[in-house]
Amino acid sequence: MSSSTAVRDLQKDLENKANDLGKIQKDIGKNHQLRKKYTIQLGENELVLKELDLLEEDANVYKLIGPVLVKQDLAEANANVRKRIEYISAELKRLDAILQDMEEKQNNKRETIMKLQQRLQSIQAGKAKA
């Protein structure tokens, strides 16, 4: 009788762990998407920066804010874009760190699940013999 309760406990444990793993995997997927978005933005900003650098001093630069084009200083626009790039790269770095962390967690979870499965199997095999 005790072995059957042990098996049940193990199974419950296994289920919980599997759920956790699924959650982590989902998070990783989300993280990937976010990363992709940021990478695209970074590329766009870099293009803009390149173009802004190519503009002559007296060129008119506008920023579209809502429905209106607001005239902006070239230097100001340049500084803004630079800051944005900085911000995005920092964000990318942060995401990278998180991703690494999550992957580590995922691997750990996977290992524990494997161990649990093995234990479960050995118990069941023992029961079958008995």
Binding site: K63, L64, R84
Partner: protein, 405 residues
Amino acid sequence: MEPPAKGTVTPLASLFSEEEARKAASYVEEKIGEKRVEMNRLQQFVDENDNLINLVKKLPDQLHHNVMVPFGKMAFFPGRLIHTNECLVLLGENYYTDRSSKQTVDFLKRRDKTLQSQIHSLKAEIEDFQTEASFFATTASEAAEGLVEIREEYVEEEDLSATVFQSSEKETSNISGGEAEEGELEDDDFARIMSRLNELEMEEEQEGEDGGDRGEERDSPIEILEESQHDLVKGIRGETDRGRIEYGKQETTISVPMKASRHSSSIREPRVAEPRVKAKVIQVLPEAHPHKDIDDQLNCIGPMAQYLPKGDQSHSGTAQQNAGTWRDFQATAGISTAKAKTNVLGPQKIESPIEKPEPEFDSTKAFTGSIVEHAHIQETSTHSDTQSSASQPSKPVSRFKAQRR
């Protein structure tokens, strides 16, 4: 007498189940599809950009254009386009700027360039995926066919190099011992193939001598050789399909890439990869030398050595140099192929570097010593066997030959 083959035989199907391989292949195909869609999108951008460039170029030709101005979704009314040399350009990230037409065209061209580079990288990615997919597909089909992978630890055989005739005897006995599952009937085929290979190499080397030390000149001979080797491989393959033998303590080698690589990487890769693997060659070369002092071997490589006098005795110096560079090249080629997934062609190419230089190194001795002409085809086969045994220490990859064991 050597103990018969000591190694493990694993059916390919047990390593990768056919189903899994198919799944992987279909997964990769899916990826390819995604990338294709992405590329189509980019291509569309490029086309639009081209159209825009043409339009912006034409605009300032006239002071004003009569156009139909869209008004709402349904209506148009006649209008006139003025200020034809002024464009408001979106730089991205909601930044706009006033530009003249010419500046706009410049900007658009820069954008085109970035798009093109993106397409380029995407294309490379797709190509990558395609080779992967074909690799998986062949794995699946070969697993289904029931191929086996045979691995053997390579054991250094010093005595082999000392007495070649003995060793060749050993080799043959070895072959018959180890090859029990392969069947004997392939020996003749192999002998035929080897003699053909030797012929090709001779031709090629003569050509190479004509070409001087310009390494680049060799491109075409190599290709010829490789191609003929492919044919030969096809021939062998047809007969060995029941079970192909893998050899080497080298990293995991799967016999699968054969088909895929034969077409895709084998021809291109060796040349492309040549410069980057130079370092490895140096490792390979010194090991190859020990065998040049084996006089007895001459008896066996007679067929190879005898053509040399015909060739270029006076230029033996350059010839040796040639052999050196040639071998460099071949060795790099072999190694690079081995480094890539291409496992099967590597060995073939490697075998030639060692086979070829040897007659030349021995050539001085060959003229003084006794040259035994072995025109008989069986002789050639022993020769090649010996060579394979002799050349083994110098390179770990002779799987092509190992197939015989």
